[in-house]
């Protein structure tokens, strides 16, 4: 187990190093002059020269990368061009809405998707199953922002049950906080529900054909116990894997959902940076989100042996 842990940690560090190299090269190999990009659209030639000297952009690429990587490891993600604030500060300021949305969506999506997937596998081939799988194809095909606008139109504009847009901090009261997050959570969760439900169904169907399920049925175990205790536990590993992989989907969705619902989170930070061409922000957020994704998938890998004692490393 220990050697596996060391090996997994080493490969995680390797992947993060590669992500760093990609993000670094993206700026330095792109069509324009990095100094001009960092200086922004309204900089004078003198400012560009000053930036080039200050950042040492005339040094060899390898030296530049080493210097940049050292700073990133220490948590210094650079400074925003537009607001002259450290990128790490900007991200921290906007963490609460994004974390609230992500955690609520996780809880919502996983609980709904696993239930639906188990139901579909149990009734495989029946109308319920076909309906659910049809819904899941639809879930993949509806763009996040289209789902968002449909929900806003029906539930906020026509029915007036929920607020149209915006965000309330959790410290202002849990009620308003939750009401503002209902529609974004459903919007963001839909594709994720479709993904996990499909995998749950496939994995459950395989398990339901096992001998011990027939035994459980024969000895008169109730359907609920059979599904939840005997089958779902053994179908767990692929489901957990897809939950981890799907986080990438969730991260892309956060950026769009926060824009549709005007939520001042990390995703909106990136979108606002696009129009201002504030590259340090985009770079910093990519590094943070990639890091989160890699760490979540590391946790998923390490959790396999907890879920399924047959897996030993």
């Amino acid at each position: 187990m220990l050697s596996y842990l060391v090996q997994r940690l080493a490969s995680t560090i390797l992947v993060m190093t590669l992500v760093g190299i990609f993000v670094f090269l993206l700026l330095h190999l792109s069509a324009g002059d990095p100094a001009a990009i960092i200086a922004g659209d309204y900089a004078t030639p003198q400012q560009i020269v000053a930036i080039r000297q200050r950042l040492g952009l005339d040094d060899p690429l390898l030296v530049q990368f080493g210097r940049w990587a050292l700073r990133v490891i220490q948590g210094d993600l650079g400074v925003s061009i537009f607001s002259s604030t450290p990128v790490s500060t900007l991200i921290l300021q906007r963490l609460e809405p994004t974390l609230s949305l992500a955690i609520l969506t996780m809880i919502f999506a996983v609980s709904i998707a696993v239930t639906l997937g188990v139901l579909a596998a149990w009734k495989a081939g029946r109308p319920v199953d076909r309906l659910l799988m049809g819904f899941s194809v639809l879930g993949f095909s509806m763009p996040t922002f289209v789902v968002g606008y449909c929900l806003i139109y029906v539930f906020a504009i026509e029915l007036r049950w929920l607020p149209v847009q915006g965000y309330r901090p959790i410290l202002d009261g849990i009620g308003p906080w939750f009401m503002h997050l209902v529609l974004p959570t459903v919007t963001l969760g839909l594709a994720y529900v479709a993904l996990i439900a499909r995998m749950t169904r496939a994995s459950m169907q395989e398990v339901l054909e096992e001998d011990y399920i027939r035994t459980a049925n024969a000895k008169g175990v109730s359907a609920r116990t059979m599904l939840m205790k005997h089958a779902l536990k053994n179908a767990g590993v692929p489901i957990i894997t897809v939950i981890g992989i799907g986080v990438a989907l969730l991260i892309g969705g956060v950026v769009i959902t926060e824009t549709v619902f005007n939520i001042p989170g990390v995703g909106r930070l990136v979108v606002d940076a696009i129009s201002k061409r504030d590259y340090p922000i985009i770079q910093g957020v990519i590094l943070v989100f990639s890091g989160v994704y890699v760490l979540i998938n590391l946790a998923v890998d390490l959790s396999y042996s907890l879920i399924d004692p047959r897996i030993r490393h």
Partner: protein, 293 residues
């Protein structure tokens, strides 16, 4: 593994051929529905100038007109014809979808073939792919587009690169399992050189799964392009793409819902059609291929 149709009983008369087509339709209703919708949009995209007016024409006197027999989908906040823009938007979406699918499949196939065959190359390539996979696709595309001047070409490249790891992994896994099979060994014994071995003997096994993968990549590319345009990091804002239309009209959702829902429905329909086609092809060509992993 190779996609060879099992020979069916010889058809004695035209009647039984008709029956066979009928059976095919009954067995694959959703796949054919998907194909039909996709062909419909393809035709619309090709004949766009014949059925729609100028998508760029701004007429301030007819702003936010609701749909009427004269203006089928109404007008937007700039007085532009929503029908014409939706029709021309099909061109952008389909070009991006097909280009991304073609590019990522061809590049991924080449890398995957060599990675599966050469051990040392494999170790490097797979680590690079791991790194690439860890970057959320939309963010990588946003970075690439915002660093370069936005154009359809950049958008296509920015969407293709994050799709590569999936293709490379798929091809590599097939090569790894196929290259040990007796027929490859026999070909090698007969003196086939590596390129011939790879492209003539091993590559055919990858075609069926790649066709299925191509449809999924096409669907996801159309979605990502629309998302990028919606976020302001896609094709230039004046180009009539569905994402751009939704982004520019989003403040008018309550007053003029047609400006949002016409492109939105078209977008969802096309993606749904490609996904249905992909699911149907998967079931026919390679039932074991797991989806999107």
């Amino acid at each position: 593994m190779t996609a060879i149709d099992t020979p069916t009983a010889p058809a004695p008369a035209a009647g039984s051929r008709l029956a066979r087509i009928g059976r095919f339709v009954r067995r694959n209703p959703t796949m054919l529905l998907g194909a039909a919708i996709l062909i419909f949009f393809l035709v619309v995209a090709i004949i766009a100038p014949l059925i729609a007016g100028d998508p760029m024409l701004k007429a301030p006197t007819r702003r936010l007109q609701p749909p009427s027999p004269d203006l089928r989908f109404g007008t937007d906040q700039l007085g532009q014809d929503v029908f014409a823009r939706t029709v021309y938007g099909a061109r952008v979406s389909l070009i991006v979808g097909f280009s991304v699918a073609t590019i990522s499949i061809l590049v991924g196939l080449t890398i995957g073939l060599f990675a599966g065959y050469y051990r040392r190359f494999d170790a490097i390539v797979m680590r690079l792919m791991d790194g690439l996979m860890a970057i959320p696709a939309i963010l990588l595309a946003i970075a690439m587009v915002s660093l370069n001047q936005g154009s359809i070409g950049i958008v296509i490249a920015a969407i293709s690169i994050p799709e590569l790891p999936r293709v490379v992994r798929l091809v590599r896994s097939i090569v790894l399992s196929v290259k040990e099979l007796p027929f490859v060994e026999a070909a090698r014994a007969c003196g086939a050189r590596t390129p011939r071995l790879l492209f003539w003997h091993i590559m055919p096994s990858t075609i069926a799964p790649l066709i299925v993968q191509a449809t999924y990549i096409c669907a996801s590319a159309i979605l990502v392009e629309a998302s990028l345009s919606f976020l302001g990091a896609g094709v230039p804002p004046e180009v009539p793409s569905w994402g751009n239309m939704i982004a520019s009209s989003r403040l008018y959702l309550a007053r003029a819902p047609w400006t949002i829902f016409c492109p939105a429905i078209a977008l969802a329909l096309v993606v749904l059609a490609v996904n249905l086609l992909g699911d149907g092809l998967r079931d026919r060509l390679d039932p074991r291929l797991s989806r999107r992993l």
